[in-house]
């Protein structure tokens, strides 16, 4: 009898969640967490039941998890693997549940056999109670939204704790990040490390490097670096206890070019080397590609398909998204922490003519309620190229704070427009862009959702869940 009631509750949960997904899509709101929340409330174990039906690939870490997931997705497509993925940044437990529910039929049969899930690094520990991924990719650990997650080391330890429940999962870890690499120490799992070989890098003068992890995780001595790519990533070695960058199985041996649109690099893998073009700018995306290549290698996919996937790859939800308006265009780039922001600024420095830049800063929970990290970003780099930029716009809940930040970075105050109304800001900004030029919009997470709604209305963009 108890078993039957259990079953009935499971079906009710499934039915209600599916109904919610249907109505949310109908209303065009693209809500991705509510259906999962409802299902979890009615049948808390639903995720365990559903997760058993899939080969699960998980991606977590502070930066680049969306881009890495999209690259892996492209690799799955090239290899004709049917899969379901949580595409729209619905990376908490409720979002994962919604994703799986939308794929299973009412008879509990799944349409796909592989699930590619991007998981928030703070939600990962909880998720490990319900799902046992075949592969877990961890990108890196940077300071991010400290007020929500507590401190960086607490996040790292939560991920470590989650992994301890998953001894059969293959771990794909960033060897160049002393924090991420430590996850592979003394665990029974099979571990694949990726990283950059000592290589020549273009000089980057963006900022005093952030110091997220300059001291040894084990003995607190200051790391020495034989090679540094950016921030705390590189070939670290602790002079006191000897903790050092593990040997990487998958490496980038050489970067052939880094431009405003793409990068070309030589990848080394145990099955041979190859050159690939990564259809996204920035050194950080070379790391994301490394993670994706490691995944390909773990599953034994061919190099040709991987190369194809990296070169035809389209950017993920709002991470770096272009909208062409005939002569002019708009590019939206999500910003969420100092390291990511600095990378975007060094990208803007490579752009020939960044006509107008609009910063939209919110301080809601999903953005991080503490915006003091704006002072850890090297906007001073923008002051050097301000003669190329016709106007700076600031908007969002914290527009005024952002204006002050730009002023102290050396941007002339009469080049800064504070405009809280997104519509007006967009009109005004597009007037400052000539044909052939681009307006760059740099929003925080919830600001991106808002600005995207307006862009969607005006320029008929795709829906969130597509």
């Amino acid at each position: 009898m108890k078993k039957i009631i259990h079953h009935i509750r499971l079906y009710i949960a499934l039915f209600i969640a599916k109904g919610a997904i249907f109505f949310l899509r109908l209303s065009g709101s693209g809500g991705t967490s509510l259906p999962g929340k409802l299902a979890l409330a009615i049948y808390p174990d639903i995720l365990t039941v559903l997760a058993r039906k899939y080969r699960i690939i998980m991606v977590t870490g502070t930066n680049g998890k969306t881009t890495t997931s999209r690259m892996i997705e492209q690799i799955l497509k090239e290899n004709r693997i049917d899969y379901i993925a949580n595409k729209s940044g619905a990376n908490l437990l409720s979002g994962l549940t919604t994703t799986l529910i939308s794929d299973v039929k009412m008879n509990l049969k799944s349409r796909s056999h592989t699930a590619l899930l991007e998981v928030d690094e703070a939600a990962f520990r909880l998720s490990s109670k319900y799902m046992h991924p075949a592969v877990l990719v961890v990108t890196n650990f940077f300071r991010d939204q400290l007020d929500r997650f507590g401190e960086l080391y607490a996040t790292l330890n939560a991920v470590r704790d989650g992994i301890s429940r998953l001894p059969d999962t293959t771990l794909i870890l960033n060897a160049d990040d002393s924090l991420c690499a430590s996850l592979g120490k003394e665990v029974p799992n099979s571990v694949i490390y990726y990283g950059m070989n000592k290589l020549e890098l273009p000089a980057d003068d963006t900022w005093v490097e952030s110091q997220d992890a300059s001291y040894c995780l084990y003995c607190k001595a200051k790391y020495e670096y034989l090679f540094r790519s950016y921030s705390h990533l590189g070939h670290f070695i602790c002079p006191q206890c000897g903790y050092s960058r593990p040997e990487a199985l998958i490496q980038v041996d050489k970067i052939l070019s880094l431009s405003g649109e793409f990068s070309r690099a030589i990848f080394y893998t145990p099955s041979g080397s190859f050159t690939a073009q990564i259809n996204l700018p920035g050194l950080y995306n070379v790391y994301n590609a490394l993670a994706a290549v490691s995944f390909s290698e773990a599953l034994g996919f061919s190099h040709e398909k991987t190369i194809e996937a990296l070169s035809c790859f389209e950017s993920g939800f709002g991470r770096m998204e272009s909208i062409s308006l005939g002569e002019k265009s708009i590019q939206v780039i999500l910003i969420k922490n100092p390291t990511g922001f600095n990378q975007v600024l060094s990208f803007l420095k490579t752009v020939e003519n960044p006509a107008a830049i609009s910063f939209i800063i919110n301080d809601k929970l999903a953005d991080g309620t503490d915006i003091s990290w704006l002072w850890d970003v090297g906007f001073e780099a923008l002051a050097e190229i301000q003669d190329k930029i016709s106007r700076f716009f600031v908007s969002g809940i914290r527009a005024e704070d952002m204006a002050v930040r730009l002023k102290y970075a050396g941007i002339f105050t009469d080049h800064i427009t504070v405009e809280k109304d997104y519509g007006n800001m967009l009109d005004d900004a597009l007037e400052h862009v000539n044909s052939g030029e681009t307006l760059y919009i740099l929003p925080t997470y919830t600001a991106m959702l808002d600005i995207r709604k307006i862009l969607k209305k005006r320029f008929h963009l795709k829906n969130f869940w597509q």
């Binding site: 401190e151 110091q211 850890d376 102290y408």
Partner: protein, 248 residues
């Protein structure tokens, strides 16, 4: 030409919440007035010379990193820092830096970590993080006649003040020192301590100018006052937060 030297203590360890903004505000607001500014970092293993600097800044850090520097602070810099405090050098100590200036920090496991003891306050680890926007009022702040300071706090330690130390202000919105007695920060001689981290000084130019004025008066007895600046962006940022959190 007036010359001011700023010392940033442990910038590689205590740099958590946009502390750079405070240094940048001091630097820019002096440069805009034609005052010559230099900023010096003093970190682990490097000596602190109490005669060399006019303003000392200590920021916040993760607990993990505070551990590393306690040794260095107590064994290598204690006397020199005492000397500077008693000699009325201007100090701005924020969050972790604030706690380190006091007598001790009692951790969650009951361990008492000895701190500098330059000020008579102490910190006891709480089980709840005190996080959020912070508004507090300070008496007698020129240029910010309403007396309101805006910022953001994020600490689990609860700080209590002993004799000889006065609170920096009264909490209007947020938690402040301990979330209990309604006070925020500490003052002793020219030492200013607060839990308001990050862009404290850029958004509160009146406080920035007060620190600069104190430093100039101490070094140049004939110095009278700073020339005013156009602070409209700063004031807008401050006022918008006061309105949002105090309905004033």
């Amino acid at each position: 030409m007036y010359q001011i030297s700023i010392c940033h203590l442990y910038p590689d360890l205590l740099n958590l919440y946009g502390d750079h903004g405070n240094i940048q505000a001091l630097r820019k607001r002096m440069e805009w007035r034609g005052i010559d500014v230099s900023v010096h970092s003093v970190s682990l293993g490097e000596p602190f010379d109490p005669e060399a600097h006019d303003i000392v800044f200590i920021g916040g850090g993760q607990d993990y990193e505070q551990d590393i520097l306690l040794n260095d602070l107590l064994n290598q810099k204690k006397e020199a820092l005492f000397h500077a405090v008693e000699g009325e050098t201007v100090f701005l100590c924020i969050c972790g830096g604030y706690q380190l200036m006091g007598r001790y920090i009692k951790t969650g496991s009951g361990r008492e970590m000895e701190c500098l003891g330059a000020l008579n306050h102490w910190t006891i680890s709480g089980d709840k993080r005190l996080i959020g926007n912070l508004v507090f009022s300070v008496e007698g702040l020129k240029q910010q006649p309403d007396g309101y300071i805006v910022g953001f706090e994020n600490h689990s330690g609860k700080t209590y003040l002993g004799e000889g130390v006065t609170p920096l202000g009264k909490v209007v919105h947020g938690f402040g020192n301990n979330g209990e007695d309604g006070y925020e920060g500490a003052r002793y001689k020219n030492v200013y301590c607060t839990y308001s981290h990050g862009s404290l000084l850029p958004k509160n130019p009146g406080l920035a100018d007060e620190l600069i004025t104190l430093a100039l008066k101490r070094k140049y007895p004939d110095f009278v006052s700073l020339q005013p600046l156009n602070d409209s962006l700063e004031t807008n940022a401050r006022i918008s937060l006061i309105k949002r959190f105090t309905r004033k």
